[in-house]
């Protein structure tokens, strides 16, 4: 029997011990009417060998692609060591470190992770992960409402330059609690929130969300935005790409006082694209807000002999203690991805992460240049950007997408549905994994396809 170790003799002896005749007898408290007739849509079981063949064939269908899409999920090189260690049984098959003494491996790793993320974001503390970047933003909004006790309005300013899916998720999660997300529109030339356009007299609001880089890859005027929010006694929620933080100013240094809460998608730190998950959301904040933080937090302490050790702490924030008054309902988080991220960051180091950020950015700039040189595409926004750009094509984007994907190339993400006002545009990204030849091939294909259409 797959994964069940019992022999017939075992079963007999166990039933004897229990004092029943059959396994069925163990279910006798369940009334007959509830008993299932059997499963009909579940296929018959197959061996690992047979399934291996099936899965190889399916994986093959989606494989051998060249990816120029970003839009919140980035193809980076992941050192082989990352997943070889992450999938070691001791990390892979352990659970939440409730028994701290039997989980020092995971706990110390998480403490190290918290340290790295706090430093990367320029914040005081970090939690041990949330589900993904989008839900992390939702949690950040909820947290801001708890943390900014002076504000009663539950109004959050949400730029339209934030990832559309993040905005939707945040809305879906926070709306039940009477929180409103008020959109801020962007400047059509720069693709950013022009500080000049901010309401002079916004009234009471709880927080301003600032993405950096924003969904378009464009760099926001973070200092001005941060100061504006703080001037109005609102909190600043930064949504950032962790790779970019090796290069770009950390949220803790934005404006005069720095952002208050930082969140984002951890995927670029060692998680494969993997159809969108599992990734992990990260969240960091100032010390003052630690008790409003959702999610697990690990602390360093000592054991009975005074020796250093690590344990879950501030559990009174969490659902298993505080129940209906918890900071969040989150329980299972994305521990294994954090394991991978921590190993990833240790392997690349500060210098490596900075090189990755630089290489991605340079590749994207090269790609933009090459595309513009075709005369069939142009860069839409005139502001500084980081490693991603909105490109306007001569061809309709769906035509481009069809022609390129037929060649197993993903030319970017078509964002015209979310931003119809931008016209025929594609969000394009070239990470450090792309070679000059890849970039050139993209440009050459654009010429070909445009010609042949």
């Amino acid at each position: 029997m797959p994964f069940i170790p019992h022999t017939e003799e075992d079963v007999k002896s166990m039933l004897d011990t229990i004092g029943v005749d059959s396994i069925e007898d163990l279910f006798d408290e369940i009334s007959d009417e509830l008993r299932a007739e059997g499963l009909t849509k579940v296929p018959e079981g197959v061996s690992e060998m047979e399934l291996s063949r099936i899965m190889h064939e399916r994986a093959q269908q989606d494989s051998r692609t060249l990816c120029f899409a970003g839009a919140g999920a980035y193809e980076h090189h992941i050192p082989a060591a990352v997943w070889e260690i992450t999938t070691r049984g001791e990390f892979y098959s352990a659970y939440t470190p409730y028994q701290a003494e039997a989980s020092q491996g995971t706990l110390q790793l998480l403490y190290e992770y918290q340290t790295m993320m706090a430093s990367l974001t320029g914040m005081d503390i970090s939690n041990a992960s949330l589900y993904d970047g989008a839900s992390a933003l939702a949690e950040a909004v909820l947290m801001a409402v708890r943390a900014n006790r002076k504000s009663k309005s539950k109004r959050i300013f949400m730029p339209r330059t934030v990832h559309p899916a993040y905005r939707k998720v945040a809305h879906n999660i926070v709306k039940g609690q009477g929180i409103t997300l008020e959109e801020l529109d962007f400047d059509m030339d720069g693709g950013f929130i022009d500080p000049e356009s901010l309401p002079k007299d916004p009234g009471d609001f709880t927080a301003l969300v600032i993405p950096q880089p924003n969904y378009f890859g464009v760099l926001e005027d973070i200092d001005a935005l941060t100061n504006w929010a703080h001037e109005h006694k609102a909190l600043v929620i930064a949504v950032v790409n962790p790779t970019s933080l090796a290069l770009l100013k950390a949220p803790g240094s934005w404006g005069d006082k720095g952002a208050d809460i930082t969140c984002g998608e951890g995927q670029p730190l060692g998680a494969p694209l993997s159809s969108g998950g599992p990734y992990f959301g990260f969240m960091a904040c100032r010390q003052a807000y630690v008790r409003q933080m959702p999610g697990r937090i690990i602390g360093r302490t000592v054991d009975l002999d005074g020796k250093q050790g690590f344990a879950l702490t501030l559990q009174a924030r969490e659902q298993h203690i505080r129940r209906s008054k918890a900071t969040s309902n989150i329980c299972t988080n994305q521990g294994l991805l954090v394991t991978a991220a921590t190993i990833y960051m240790s392997l690349v180091g500060p210098d490596g992460l900075s090189k990755v950020a630089n290489a991605c950015h340079n590749n994207t700039v090269d790609l933009i240049d090459k595309l513009e040189a075709t005369g069939k595409a142009k860069r839409l926004f005139n502001r500084p950007l980081f490693h991603e750009s909105v490109m306007q094509f001569e061809l309709p984007t769906d035509q481009l997408m069809d022609a390129m994907s037929a060649k197993r190339i993903l030319p970017g993400v078509d964002i015209s549905e979310d931003y119809p006002e931008l016209g025929n545009v594609m969000l394009v990204c070239a990470t450090e994994t792309k070679t000059d030849a890849d970039l050139q091939m993209y440009a050459d294909l654009v010429i070909d396809i445009t010609k042949n259409s």
């Binding site: 069940i4 170790p5 019992h6 011990t17 029943v20 163990l26 006798d28 408290e29 009334s31 009417e33 509830l34 008993r35 499963l39 849509k41 579940v42 018959e44 690992e48 399934l51 899965m55 989606d62 494989s63 999920a73 260690i85 001791e90 892979y92 098959s93 352990a94 659970y95 701290a100 020092q104 190290e112 340290t115 430093s119 970090s126 992960s129 589900y131 989008a134 899916a165 998720v169 879906n172 100013k249 998608e265 993997s274 159809s275 969108g276 937090i297 302490t301 000592v302 020796k307 050790g309 702490t313 659902q319 298993h320 505080r322 988080n333 994305q334 190993i343 180091g349 500060p350 340079n362």
Partner: protein, 488 residues
């Protein structure tokens, strides 16, 4: 030693850096960082050695019996890991068009079908990223449903969610997130919901009830049909917390019990790894009337092509809860596991999980341990209460738990559910062999002896782990949440 303490300024691991990278020249200085983040500067070997060694400081299923009640710590087949990590799956960008995605989408579609069959629900959405997010989706759908009543005018009086006192913390926490008030329903002495109390609690304010069945008390809720009737009659909906689905997989379908909405914890019942805390996956299934509200994306099949359903297709959906499609890689693992088990294997899961639990329960009882519900059959788990030991010997459940670690067993869930004093919630799962169960029982007996003859020994445990018992109070009082340079 922390990884930072092995770090040396200026050490670079060039094999893991893109070569020949020029510094960017087109980003103005005002946007740039000018300090070096505190990431470790170690060699590849130092990192490998450090994290390999750290890993060995964990208990895990691959190394230890781990009977953590309500967590279903069963064997995570290695084939699920390797097949889900095939390059074609790992490299697929979430925004890939369908013509580059048929392999992945077909797996998701098939998984939806399997989960529908297993739960007896009408439709399934895979996107929630853990049980708690599944709960959120479910309760949000309950809200959406009530809001759509009365010709769209809604049913604004329905402000309460009922929750048994044995419920998992995520249940009330979720209800709150959806802006419901939580009302607790007591449990009777046999572990069933107190029907009279329930009757008194329901009313026009009742939006729904969240139930686990088998409950976290390790018993099957026998009056489930009556409960369903009571709540439904009052106009409320029934939410099924699927954390304990392992107990009845393929034997009882939540849909047949009268539930309107259910989440599953694939990281429990479908054996995707717990990963030291996650990731999980918490797909939701619904009865007919909640189909329009299911979270997107979902996968459908239109004349042999698998396609993605989004907000556009399902305008009444509660929407998306993740940037993309949830924990896709976890869903793949669950799909692979389901295929390996097959329809017969699924039923066997419930059977042998139940067999193991009842066997342990009987043997522990025979050894003198007190059961919380001695008159009930165990489901896939059961509760021992150590209140006698706590009172008479001053050795409590935590002490037993820590001492078990020395014996090479992960402790069961302690102090949950809260209503049972000095509680050990023990879930062996179907993948453990009789020897392992016997070993655990012998350890319990040995610890009991120690408690009787040398209580201090038990209270001082553990002794053989990387650290002795940790000071949680200090951890919370003198917060030390990040390592600081000067501590080096």
């Amino acid at each position: 030693m922390l990884i930072f303490e092995q770090s040396r300024n200026g050490r670079v691991n060039t094999a893991q850096q893109p070569a020949g990278t020029k510094a960017v020249s087109d980003i103005p200085a005002e946007f740039l960082r000018n300090d070096k983040p505190l990431l470790p500067e170690v060699s590849e070997m130092q990192a490998v050695r450090h994290y390999t060694r750290l890993s060995t400081k964990n208990f895990s299923i691959d190394t230890h019996f781990y009977p953590l009640g309500s967590c279903t710590m069963k064997y995570n087949p290695r084939g699920c890991n390797s097949l889900s990590m095939l390059p074609g799956f790992l490299n697929r960008h979430p925004d890939s068009p369908v013509n580059m995605s048929q392999g992945f989408l077909s797996c998701m579609y098939d998984l939806q079908e399997i989960l529908k069959d297993v739960t007896g629900m009408k439709e399934v959405s895979l996107s929630p990223m853990a049980g708690a997010q599944g709960e959120f989706a479910g309760v949000a759908m309950i809200r959406a449903y009530h809001d759509a009543q009365n010709g769209g005018k809604g049913d604004p009086e329905r402000t309460e969610i009922l929750v048994p006192d044995a419920a998992h913390g995520t249940n009330p926490a979720t209800a709150t997130m959806c802006n419901f008030k939580v009302r607790e329903i007591p449990t009777n002495s046999d572990g069933d919901v107190d029907i009279d109390a329930l009757k008194q609690a329901v009313g026009p304010q009742t939006a729904g009830i969240m139930l686990t069945n088998p409950s976290t008390l390790g018993v099957f809720e026998r009056k489930i049909k009556e409960i369903a009737d009571i709540v439904h009659k009052a106009g409320g909906l029934l939410y099924y917390d699927g954390a304990n689905l392992n107990a009845i997989l393929g034997k009882v379908k939540p849909g047949d019990m009268g539930f309107d909405v259910i989440h599953m914890n694939l990281h429990k019942t479908f054996s995707t790894p717990h990963g030291g805390g996650g990731p999980g996956a918490g797909p939701v299934g619904v009865s007919e009337r909640l189909i329009p509200y299911l979270p997107v994306p979902m996968v459908t099949k239109v004349s042999d092509e698998y396609q993605v359903i989004t907000e556009k297709d399902n305008p009444n959906s509660i929407g998306r809860l993740s940037a993309f499609m949830g924990n896709a890689g976890v869903l793949l693992r669950a799909y692979i596991y389901a295929r390996l088990l097959g329809r017969d294997g699924m039923q066997r899961v419930a059977e042998y999980a139940t067999l193991n639990a009842n066997y342990m329960m009987k043997k522990l009882e025979a050894a003198g341990f007190e059961l919380a519900f001695p008159n009930r059959k165990a489901t896939h788990e059961f509760i021992v209460t150590l209140k006698k030991q706590a009172k008479e010997l001053n050795v409590n459940a935590m002490d037993f738990a820590k001492r078990l670690l020395d014996y090479g067993f992960h402790a069961p869930t302690t102090y949950f559910p809260l209503l049972v004093p000095e509680c050990f919630l023990i879930e062996p799962t179907e993948t453990e062999a009789q020897d392992a169960l016997d070993g655990f029982i012998e350890a319990m007996i040995a610890i009991q002896k120690e408690a009787e003859t040398d209580a201090e020994k038990v209270k001082g445990a553990p002794y053989t782990l990387p650290v002795r018992r940790l000071d949680d109070v200090k951890a919370a009082k003198e917060l030390d949440l990040t390592w600081k340079q000067q501590q080096a």
